[in-house]
């Protein structure tokens, strides 16, 4: 654990540029009130101690199953919630505990694209008014300049200029998402949280929107936190991928490494759940099928969060919470399997204790 702390600051420094976003120990707990006096009896630990950094110009994919805290994490980073604990530094400014009023002047740096393009647009405002809102709030441009800027943004996201006066209900899902992206771009942000931007779209439209996001990233030098449960789409767009389970990041690795050789048992299970198009290959591949349900985030298990479903569970997993370990190649994994073998990524070495413990797990 002590030696694991050392590479942490070294990793971003090694890559030159300082991180655009640096999240340390982020916790977002929602209190549960109950009883006659509405006393707090517990908390839903939606995000429970998350650390990661994002370098300028990169895309961090954040994946995990429903309810694991991905969206909450994204929203907490933008301070749409008042976070419970932790530090968020964006572009060198600590925003974790600023008041909403003080935060206002930092808002243009960071924007968000939402999951449901229907719900994220006010049905009573037309396209031009929607895209103008950030300009009205943060710039002192004249009305004509704002109009011009709105039309430029519509061009940038591929919307016809003639649609400026139409209302959101008159657009298809993909077009609505483009409106949402134009609104997020209006203030020239450096960092955009894409909260499942393609989950509510048709498959044919998904590719268009993802390609648009990639083009815009190139054009404006954007940095994305791309939240999704679509592993193949994340593989397409992300430079690094973080896997979340029950409010924690269990594994964070460069894209190629993660997809080629997942280390954490949860990541392995997640990747093996991706359907294989070739039937011959599909029959050959042995799928890891997890048993049981995700534990309640209000009452996570003792020890490792994944210990109730892990196919490679060991005794220590029920006792001690594994800390994130930094492995070579910029990888990071929170699993006891890699406690003593932190220097090796050799799968045989890593899997040996796993297999034995899995066999033990079956017998009792």
């Amino acid at each position: 654990m002590l030696d694991a702390a050392a590479p942490a600051p070294a990793t971003p420094a090694a890559d030159g540029a300082p991180p655009l976003l640096d999240v340390r120990g982020l916790k977002m707990h929602f209190p549960i009130h109950s009883g006659l006096l509405r006393r707090q009896v517990g908390a839903v630990k939606a995000v429970d101690g998350v650390d990661f950094t994002i370098r300028p110009g990169e895309t961090l994919g954040l994946v995990g199953e429903s309810g694991c805290g991905k969206s909450t994490c994204g929203r907490a980073i933008l301070r749409l919630y008042d976070i419970t604990e932790g530090s968020i530094r964006i572009d060198g400014v600590e925003i974790g505990h600023l008041s909403q009023h003080a935060l206002r002047k930092h808002r243009p740096t960071m924007q968000m694209v939402f999951q449901d393009p229907q719900a994220s647009l006010n049905p009573r405002m037309n396209v031009s008014q929607i895209i103008r809102e950030p300009l009205d709030e943060h710039t002192k441009l004249s009305s004509a300049e704002k109009d011009e800027k709105v039309l430029e943004l519509m061009d940038a996201v591929g919307l016809n200029r003639a649609f400026a006066r139409r209302f959101p209900h008159a657009f298809s899902g993909g077009q609505r998402q483009r409106i949402g992206i134009a609104r997020a771009l209006a203030l020239n942000p450096k960092f955009i949280v894409c909260d499942e931007p393609i989950a509510a779209l048709d498959v044919s439209i998904q590719a268009q929107v993802v390609n648009l996001l990639e083009d815009l990233q190139e054009q404006f030098g954007l940095t994305y936190l791309f939240i999704s449960h679509d592993l193949s789409m994340v593989r397409h767009i992300a430079t690094r991928v973080a896997v979340m389970y029950l409010g924690r990041i269990v594994e964070l690795a460069p894209r190629e490494a993660l997809y080629a050789e997942p280390l954490h048992p949860y990541t392995q299970a997640l990747l093996s759940a991706v359907p294989e198009p070739d039937p011959a290959l599909a029959r050959k591949v042995e799928r890891v099928i997890l048993k049981g349900d995700v534990p309640s985030p209000a009452n996570p298990p003792k020890g490792c969060n994944f210990c109730t479903r892990c196919p490679k569970v060991m005794d220590i997993c029920h006792e001690i919470d594994p800390m994130p370990r930094h492995l070579p190649g910029g990888r990071q994994v929170a699993c006891h399997l890699y406690e003593d073998t932190k220097t090796t990524t050799d799968p045989t070495a890593a899997h040996k204790p796993g297999h034995s413990s899995a066999q033990q797990g079956v017998s009792p």
Binding site: Q111, F114, P134, H138, F163, A164
Partner: protein, 345 residues
Amino acid sequence: MTDRTDPHERAEPPPSPAVPAGGAPDGGEIAEAAGSAAPGQSSTSLWRDVWVQFREHKGAVIGLAFLIFITLFVIAGPWIWQVDPADLDIRNKDVRPIYTWLWDREADVMWSRPLGTDNLGRDILANLMQGGRVSMAVGWVAMLLALILGTLIGVLAGYFRALDGLLMRFTDLMLALPLLPLLLVMMLLFRDQLRAAFGPEQGIFVLIVTAIGITSWMHTARIVRGDILALKEREYVLAARSIGTPSRRMITRHLLPNVLSPIMVSATLGLATAIITESALSFLGLGFPSDYPTWGKILFDSVERMERFPERVIWPGLCISLTVLAVNYIGDGLRDALDPRIRGR
């Protein structure tokens, strides 16, 4: 599902046929819309679109026509029909309306009293006009007061969690208060001061309007609070928060326009309640003085002899119910016209 596919299909065709379908078919506008100045002219054409949609609603157009008619009737009527409503013509009391002659040649009718007179010989047509002025004024002002109070309290309670408990318990408290005894106490306490300050009629007007206004905002407040609570969790409100829109503009830009429908409905109901509450107050002797006619008071004064003189109940009753109905329809049409999802159809 149809809701999603339908706009999709409409949005698909290329812009050239779509633009004339949406706006007015003049060439200059198409060129402008396709050019650079399209967003600038949105506010004027928005209201034109609203008016076009409003005219689609037949009931609303008829309601609006009737409301204009009845408003002109009570405002301009006394200039044309120059009979003093308080004038006691005791020799010509209990005159029947002129149309009674059609089926009863024996009836006591006069051309100078087209709607007849009451038991003290006062002209009913003149009374309806004078009474309508007061009833409409009380109804509109009390309704607007209740609406503003109710919306304000509902929005504050729904949006600011810290105020929610306090304001909603206050609303419950107001709902639990028995209305008539409260009004009675208010009348007793403030009648003389207000009369001294504003004169006898204006004083009582202010008192009645305030009394009705502050005792009828609670339902609006509850409805608005409930809707705000739901809207607050919508993603577009989150999006506005991520932009950094401050609370006051969040409310005026995103929340109020979206709770317009329930507010409009409670406004139309509020107008009816206000007119009727005023009649009840006058009936109990708490409202306007007895020689000061209102629709409600004419109605209540005539109830005892309703069987012999049904017209004295029918005319003021018709005035009240048709006005309320007209406002109801206008509210309905306006609600549809202001909703871009319906307007687009």
